[in-house]
């Protein structure tokens, strides 16, 4: 349509089009005009999506996706006007005052970066900031790890834990002979989708025992024992999400032996190093046991919680290989996974992490702040346990202090949870998971009252 012909077309006077339906009608009128110079062929088009008239969307059939169950909790919480409301849904750390926390050492690192005028915002390499990768590997595997000293570890910067898991899954789907990954029941809600979209098929192994609110160790051993040789197994390195139930070191050793004897490939998700026990090395023990036996494994690391860098999306994906040569080749293939996904990772968060990890003082300051967060959570566990005992709430609540990390799997059922939300304005996921990070000394009594009421009235 030439500009000349367009001006001959009748159209609504734009100045009078106020409502959205007015605007839509005027747009339709413009589109319905037939140009005089169009060839006969142009109008002969049988396809329903073609030509003049309403522009039908090719995506008209798309239906609205369901709300994310975890993030939906916060949405509901925000709508509640009650002054007593409590958000124990999403797993982000909160202070005693219920506020998000940016670590002091992170602020320091940020200031350093801002003040350094020589810093630029250029693209990082595909695998991210080299120094960040090296320091991350040392953090999780230990600086003296033989695997690192022998250059057998390839580490690539990824978008937090999610990104690391996804890159790992896509790599496995392309280069590993087994396409099945076994995930524990229950696990983080996003795990199945990450692995499925990454090209793997998902099976499960027993993990949580509702009867004991602890580990179903027998079931775990049986299920891993009957997995096909070579299958991939997802392991939560520490502070299992959502249950907070971790194997003991002895149990980890048995798991390791079983997996190695069957050639099962370990894929660790480490989202809480240092955040679980308050000690970085202790929280990495499970992974280090597997590396110490000389075998191979995959590790997804996140700095979202332990450095409070949530929205900066900082993480690292590592593969411990048999040899340096294999590690090099593997790294080159990881680049081919990353490049068509987002080209290269975001620079800001990784720069903060590298700034902190490379500086002895800042590193120490970080460990102190990290321990403080972990300690506050542990004290919340004890306060809640004590409060329930003081109320004589029926049942054994010792799992609250036995479980570890940000979450407690209370064992409450969905009816009890709904009751607590309705009557006490407590927001949590319907599986009974509460984020201990959302509690404070001030709010523990309210939660204890709610649990007590739910258990006694709804049994």
């Amino acid at each position: 349509m030439s500009p000349q012909e367009e001006s001959d077309c009748p159209r609504f006077d734009q100045a009078h089009s106020f409502s959205s339906s007015d605007r839509r009608i005027s747009a339709l009128v413009r589109h319905l005009t037939v140009p005089t110079h169009a060839s006969p062929m142009d109008s002969i088009s049988a396809a329903p999506t073609s030509a003049f008239g309403t522009a039908d969307s090719v995506f008209a059939h798309v239906v609205q996706a369901p709300e994310d169950p975890i993030l939906g909790v916060t949405v509901a919480y925000n709508k509640d006007p009650s002054p007593n409301k409590l958000n124990l849904g999403v797993g982000a750390y909160r202070t005693e005052e219920g506020k998000p926390l940016v670590l002091n050492v992170v602020r320091r690192a940020e200031q350093q970066l801002v003040n350094d005028r020589s810093r630029v915002k250029e693209y990082l390499p595909i695998i991210g900031l080299a120094e960040f990768n090296k320091l991350s590997a040392k953090l999780i595997f230990g600086a003296e790890s033989p695997a690192i000293l022998e250059n057998r570890v390839t580490t690539v910067q990824c978008l937090s834990g999610t990104g690391s898991l996804r890159v790992g899954a896509e790599f496995l789907a392309r280069h590993y002979h087994e396409r099945t990954i076994y995930i524990p029941v229950p696990t983080w809600g996003n795990h199945p989708k990450v692995f499925t979209l990454g090209g793997l098929s998902v099976k499960t192994y027993r993990y949580y025992d509702p009867a004991t609110r602890g580990l179903n160790f027998q079931g775990l051993l049986e299920d891993l024992g009957s997995a096909p040789s070579g299958a991939i197994v997802l392991l939560h390195a520490c502070a299992h999400n959502p249950t907070g139930v971790d194997p003991t070191l002895e149990q980890w050793e048995q798991i390791r032996q079983l997996m190695r004897s069957k050639g099962l490939l370990p894929f660790f998700d480490s989202a809480y190093q240092g955040f679980a026990s308050g000690r970085l090395d202790a929280d990495a023990q499970s992974i280090r046991m597997f590396v110490a036996d000389g075998g191979e494994c995959l590790v997804a690391q996140s700095y979202a919680k332990n450095m409070g860098l949530y929205g900066e999306r900082v993480g690292a994906f590592s593969i411990v290989c048999k040899s340096a040569d294999v590690a090099r080749r593997v790294e080159s293939q990881l680049k081919l996974v990353i490049r068509p996904m987002y080209s290269n990772p975001p620079i800001h968060g990784a720069s903060i992490v590298a700034t902190i990890l490379r500086d002895r003082d800042m590193y120490n300051e970080w460990t102190v702040e990290l321990k403080a967060m972990a300690d506050r959570i542990i004290s919340m566990r004890h306060e809640l346990f004590d409060a329930l005992r003081a109320r004589g709430t029926p049942g054994d609540w010792s799992h609250i202090i036995k479980q570890i990390g940000m979450f407690t799997f209370t064992g409450l059922n969905s009816e009890q949870v709904a009751f607590m939300t309705k009557e006490y304005h407590i927001y949590m996921t319907s599986d009974g998971r509460i984020s201990m990070a959302g509690l404070s000394s001030r709010t523990v009594p309210h939660l204890a009252d709610a649990i007590h009421a739910a258990v006694t009235r709804m049994g």
Partner: protein, 423 residues
């Protein structure tokens, strides 16, 4: 082997002697071929020659050949540091950043924005936006293909391939004229099955720098209407091409006027110099608000298992700048300055070549637009440039004009003349 076994027994770890876990799972993994574009910079960095010139990767350089952080960005960062927490953004990213970004592409007063008809999410720069769209296309139009221009940014092929969307190509560049092959392009549009998906570069085509004229865009849009094709615009250089963001969005505005329901990938990598922050946006124009809500929710479902939610830092920079009239004006000035410098270098390079008495025509250097110049040189000529003159560019003859400075334009012209003078 024996000493390791002893060491491990000392540590109390039992040694499983089965052969299976003693060998690597990854022995069969081949070394991947290097990325053609990023490999150029690697080679450049490794070269010790003092005369070396990098006109490979498309990142802006100032006239001293240095990367540049825009002043508006520095100011935005100063305001952000120490003031914001780092909580997760929603899956669709920063609402404010997305709103401001849509205004750039669709117009400040766009009806589509007023009517909330655009489904949009923050994405990981242009790559991430294209990949999200490709995944969305695969999921909701599984029988569709994508038509990609020849040539295009190499990673486009990788993106749609990894999304498992079959690809076809359409004519774009005509080597004989070093311009647009408009006749063949229109034929390909006509011959494609009705309702095909096309990838279009909104402005400053990468790698050729060849853009359709406004008139040609109108014809393309018209033919798209006749055929009911879907237009997906990759806009990585808005503002960076002509210096005027409104002008650079012309193609998109033409399609919108004609009623197309387009898709669009936007990037702040070049025009705000935010390269490593991975800032971008994916938008899909829908029939109405209800549909936009549905489409956005599905885009989020694709982002969640990829990275959960996008990075916050760059989003804060963008919304701080675009949300403050003074900072926004500063940004527009700085974008124009970058674009003007590049246009100046195009003129200088062409004039230098003509002064050297080159037998060839170098008009295309100033006809083409944006960061890249498709020189027309052969891979062999490019190799000579690298080996004899330490000039680094991709072997398709693409020159990143951003790497050209008043300091090196003479050297570059001389070298190009040397390798091309015998025709």
């Amino acid at each position: 082997m024996a000493s390791r076994a002893i060491l491990q027994r000392r540590k109390g770890i039992s040694v499983i002697s089965s052969a299976r876990w003693m060998s690597s799972w990854w022995s069969n993994v081949e070394p991947a071929s290097k990325d053609p574009i990023l490999g150029v910079t690697e080679a450049f960095l490794a070269d010790p020659s003092p005369n070396k010139v990098n006109v490979g990767v498309g990142a802006y350089r100032d006239d001293n050949g240095k990367p540049q952080v825009l002043e508006c960005v520095r100011e935005a960062e100063r305001r952000i540091a120490g003031n914001m927490n780092m909580e997760y953004l929603p899956m669709g990213g920063s609402v404010k950043m997305v709103e401001e970004t849509l205004k750039l592409a669709y117009g400040e007063n766009s009806d589509y924005l007023k009517d909330k008809r655009i489904a949009a999410v923050q994405a990981l720069s242009g790559t991430g936006a294209c990949r999200l769209f490709a995944d969305f296309q695969k999921r909701f139009k599984p029988e569709s293909q994508i038509y990609i221009p020849v040539p295009t940014w190499a990673n486009h092929h990788n993106i749609w391939r990894d999304a498992q969307v079959p690809q076809r190509t359409f004519h774009y560049y005509l080597p004989e004229t070093r311009g647009l092959d408009f006749a063949s392009l229109m034929d390909d549009i006509k011959n494609a099955p009705n309702g095909s998906f096309f990838l279009l570069h909104a402005c400053a085509h990468n790698p050729t720098g060849v853009d359709p004229s406004e008139e040609q865009w109108r014809e393309i849009s018209h033919q798209f209407k006749v055929k009911g094709h879907f237009a997906f615009f990759d806009m990585a250089y808005q503002g960076f091409a002509s210096g005027d963001p409104e002008r650079d969005a012309k193609a998109i505005r033409i399609f919108l006027e004609d009623g197309h329901l387009i898709g669009c990938a936007q990037s702040y990598a070049k025009n705000m110099g935010l390269y490593g922050q991975r800032m971008g946006c994916l938008s899909v124009v829908c029939e109405d608000e209800k549909q936009a809500v549905a489409v956005k929710s599905q885009l989020q479902q694709l982002a969640r298992p990829m990275y959960s939610n996008p990075p916050v830092h760059g989003a804060l920079i963008v919304s701080t700048i675009l949300g403050d009239p003074e900072l926004k004006n500063l940004w527009l000035k700085e974008v124009k300055m970058m674009a003007d410098r590049i246009i100046g270098m195009r003129t200088a390079l062409r004039e230098n070549l003509e002064k050297l008495g080159s037998p060839l025509s170098w008009e295309h250097i100033t006809n083409q637009i944006g960061m890249f110049c498709y020189s027309g040189m052969t891979p062999e000529q490019v190799d000579r440039l690298t080996n004899e003159f330490h000039i680094y560019m991709t072997r398709n003859g693409r020159i990143s004009m951003a790497g050209v400075t008043t300091g090196n334009v003479g050297y570059l012209a001389n070298a190009i003349h040397e390798v091309t003078k015998s025709g």
